[in-house]
Subunit: 264 residues, 4 copies
Amino acid sequence: MARPLEYGEQVLLWEAKRGRTFSFVLREGDVFHSHRGSIPHGEIAGKPEGARVFSNTGTEFVVFRPRVGERMMKVRRRTQIVYPKDAGWLALALDLRPGMRVVEIGTGSGAFTILLAQLVGPEGRVYTFDRREDFLKNALENIARAGLSGRVEAGVLEAGEPFPVEGEVDAAFIDLPEPWLAVPPAYSVLAPGRPLAGIVPTAEQLKGFVAALEREGFVAVECIELLERKVLVREREGVRPFERMVGFTGYLVAARKALGKEVG
Amino acid sequence: MARPLEYGEQVLLWEAKRGRTFSFVLREGDVFHSHRGSIPHGEIAGKPEGARVFSNTGTEFVVFRPRVGERMMKVRRRTQIVYPKDAGWLALALDLRPGMRVVEIGTGSGAFTILLAQLVGPEGRVYTFDRREDFLKNALENIARAGLSGRVEAGVLEAGEPFPVEGEVDAAFIDLPEPWLAVPPAYSVLAPGRPLAGIVPTAEQLKGFVAALEREGFVAVECIELLERKVLVREREGVRPFERMVGFTGYLVAARKALGKEVG
Amino acid sequence: MARPLEYGEQVLLWEAKRGRTFSFVLREGDVFHSHRGSIPHGEIAGKPEGARVFSNTGTEFVVFRPRVGERMMKVRRRTQIVYPKDAGWLALALDLRPGMRVVEIGTGSGAFTILLAQLVGPEGRVYTFDRREDFLKNALENIARAGLSGRVEAGVLEAGEPFPVEGEVDAAFIDLPEPWLAVPPAYSVLAPGRPLAGIVPTAEQLKGFVAALEREGFVAVECIELLERKVLVREREGVRPFERMVGFTGYLVAARKALGKEVG
Amino acid sequence: MARPLEYGEQVLLWEAKRGRTFSFVLREGDVFHSHRGSIPHGEIAGKPEGARVFSNTGTEFVVFRPRVGERMMKVRRRTQIVYPKDAGWLALALDLRPGMRVVEIGTGSGAFTILLAQLVGPEGRVYTFDRREDFLKNALENIARAGLSGRVEAGVLEAGEPFPVEGEVDAAFIDLPEPWLAVPPAYSVLAPGRPLAGIVPTAEQLKGFVAALEREGFVAVECIELLERKVLVREREGVRPFERMVGFTGYLVAARKALGKEVG
C-alpha cells in the first residue's frame, strides 16, 4: 500500500506546464508560494505520491517524494556539490550496497553523503568528515531533511589526519582540493582490495591525486569525465539535443587498494 | 575482518603492467591461463582481496572480487548490455535503495539485473522478464555467478502482457526494442508517483517511448545521453583525454507515474 | 605595411579585463558607448590593428578587424545562424578555395554567406537564395558590413525551384527546414563529382535529407555533429573545461554528386 | 565545363557498398588493386569526377578528386596530423583568405600545410618550417601530390629561431611539442593585430603555451577542443550516433597580437 505524504517529509512539486520543480518540507499551517500561485501544505499532506494539486491561480502541479538525485540537487548549498550524473558512476566505482561501511572526506553540502546513506541502507554506515564545522552543520541539516540522519556519523577533520573510524571500511570517497593528503589515511582504513573514488576539478589536481594513489599502493586507477546531454523530444519539433548543456563538473577517479608494493 | 576469496566465488585478476582484467569463478583444481602465463586457482583461493599473485612466467596480477560494474561488463553476452556509465544514472533515476521491489522487462544478458539485485539487497526483490527463454537462461547463469540469485525472480513474457507480480512495485525498468508496448503494464504495476526508466538505441524509438509515457499518465519525462571520456594521466606524457572513446550506448529515459490525467 | 583602421570599416573592440567583444562600423563623429565608458570613433580611426585604446573611464580595449568567425557571430540576426565551429567543418566539406562558384539556399542572416565569400575570394562568386525578401535584405546588409558585397549575388527563391545560375557550380550548401526540396535543383546545377553540404536541427530532418540525397544520385554521404568545449587555462586555478557549453547547434551533412545511378 | 581526371592527378575512389575510400596518383600503365578487385588507371583517366567505375570482380566505385580534408587524411604520415575537424576551426581562427601570407612552424607531415595552401590560393604564400629535414621531405611530397607546391616555401628551423621570412605575415600557426618557444618569433613576424593559432596534446603544454602568449603580448586567447560525432542514418535502423568515436585529437588555441603591453 502506497504511504501518503506526511508532515515532516520533504516533498517535490512538479509544475505540469513548464516542468519546473520545487522542494520543501511539509509543515502544518505552512503555505507554498510561487509565481504560479500558492498551495497550503495541508492540501498536500495526506495525498499519495503522484497526486495532482492546483494552486489558487489554477496552475497544475504533481506531488512526489524526491528521488535521491533530486534530494541531492535540492540541498542547501554552501559548496560545489557532486552532481547526480557523476554520483551514479561513483556509486558503481565504490561498489555500494546495503550494509556497507563507507568513509567520506570532504562532506561539503552533504549531497553525495545523501546518496551514500540511501544506498548503504539502515544497516550500513557513512562516516563523513570536513574541516569546516559550518559546512558540516549545513550538510547535517540537508541529510536530516532527507530522513537519513540515523545512518550518518560526521566529524571535523583536517585533510591529512587519520580517520577516527573503528575497524576497516568497505569504501572510501575523497572530495578535497588536495585529495592527495587523504590518500594515506584512506589506505589505512580501507579493507584490502576495496575501492576508493574521488572527484577533482582541474588537470593539475587530477595528476597529483593519481600520483599519490600509485605511490601509496592503489592499483587499477581509472580517470574519466562524464558529459550529460539532455535530449529534446517533441512531437512537432522532432528529436534533437538541447542547445545548452553542462560542460564539465569534474574529473572522476576510481582505484582499488592492493596489498604490498608492485614488484615490477 | 576481510573475508578471503573462496572456491565458488567470481574473482577479477588485474594485470599490473597492462591494466587488463580477467574474470572467472574459482574452482578447485582449475588453472587460469593467459598469454602472460598460468596460475592455479588454488594459489588464489584463501588469499585476501588485493593480494598480488604471479603467473608461472612471472607476470604480476592483483586479485579482487569484481565490483558490480565489472560483474556487468563480464557477463556472458547474448545481447547488448546496459553499460555501467548508463547504469549509474538509471540507478538514481529509479531511486534504488535496500528493500525495494523492482520490475524489469527485457532481461537481456542480465547485466542491469545484477545492479538492481545488488542495490535492492537481500530484503529487496527484482522481477525480470524476457520473451526469449534462451536469453533468460543465460542471464540467470550470469546472475548466479554474481551470487545474487536469491533476490531475482524471472519469467518469460511478451512485451505487451501484464506483469505477473503481486501488489505494487517501487520502480520499473524497460529495455525493449518496442518500449511503448510495456508502458501500460508498467503503469498498472507501479506504486503511485514512483519512477520508471528505460534505454533505447535510436531517435525514433525514443520518440515512440516518450509519446507512450505521456499518453499513459507518466510525467516529468527526462531524456538524456551520457558520454564517458577516459582521461590519460601520466607523469611524463601529461594529462589528456584518450584518443578513442565509446561514442554512444543509448538514450536514457526517466519518468514518474502521476495519478489521473493532465487537466490543462 | 599594416593598413590602419579606416572610417567605413567594421572593427572589433576586445575588453582587456573581461574578454568581452564589441563590433561596429567606424563613422566619423560617432562615439562607442559601453558600461565601461565611451570612446570616440575618431580615436580608433587611423590606428593599426592591435592598438590599445582607453575609454573615458580608463577601461582598456584592444582594436581589431574582426576575423571571419567574429563577423559571422556579430551579424544582425533574423534567424538561427551557422556557428563558426560548424562553418569550419562545412568549409572543408565543400572544398572551398579561391575562384570557386558556390550556390547557397537558405541565406538566413548571411553568416555563412560571409564565410563563403571570404574563402572564394574576389575572383569567386556566391549565389545565395532565400524565400524571404526581408531576410535577404538584412543578410545583404550584414554582407556589406563585412565588405564582401562584390562577390555575392542574391535572389528570392522558393525551396524547390531551380537555381537561376548560369552553368555549373563547384559546391552547393543547403540550410532549409525542408532540405530535401532543394536536393534535385542542387544536383542539376552542381558540376559532376562536386560536393554538397547542409545543416539541419532535428533527427527527422536529417533522415529526410539523407533519403533525398541517396535517391537523387549523391554518394559518400556523411552525417556528423560537433561539440565545442571551451577550456579554462589559469595559472592559479589550473586547466579544466568550462562549466557550461553549447550542447547542440545542428547536424552537419556532406555528400558528393555521382553520375548515373548505383547499379548494385 | 567539368575537367576530366588526368594522369598525374591524385584521385579518390569511393567504394559504393562499404563506403571505404582509396587515394592514389593516376599513372599511365598503373593498376589499382584492392580486396575487391583491380582497375587499370587507364579506365579512370579521362573520366569526369563522379563517374562510376567497376573492378574486374564487379565491385562498384565512384571516382573523385579528393576534397582538401581527404587530401589531409591521405598524406603519407610521419607524424600526428591535424585532423580536418580541427583544421576547419583553425582556418577560421587564422582568418584565412586568398592572397594571405602565412607562417607555419612544425610542418610535420604537411596535412595542415595543404589546407593553408589551398585557402591562401595561387596569390598567397605559406612559409613552413620543421627541425627535421626528413619530415620536411615527406611533407613536400605530400604537398606536391596535392598540386600545391607552387605556393609553399619550406625550410629547416629549430623551435626558438627567428622565422626567415621577409616582411610581415598575416597569420601564424604553431604545432610543436614546446609551442612556447615559437611564440616570440611568431610575435616578431606577425602584422599587428593579426591572429596566431596552434594545437597541443596535453593540459601541461596548453598551460605553457597560454602563459607564453600572454607574456609576449598576445590577447584574446581562446582554448577549445572539438568532439566530432558521426551519426548513423539508416531507413530501417533509425537515427543514432555511432558506437565509437575519436575522443580527442588536441587542444586548439587562438590569439591575436596586441601592440605594447597591458597597462592594467
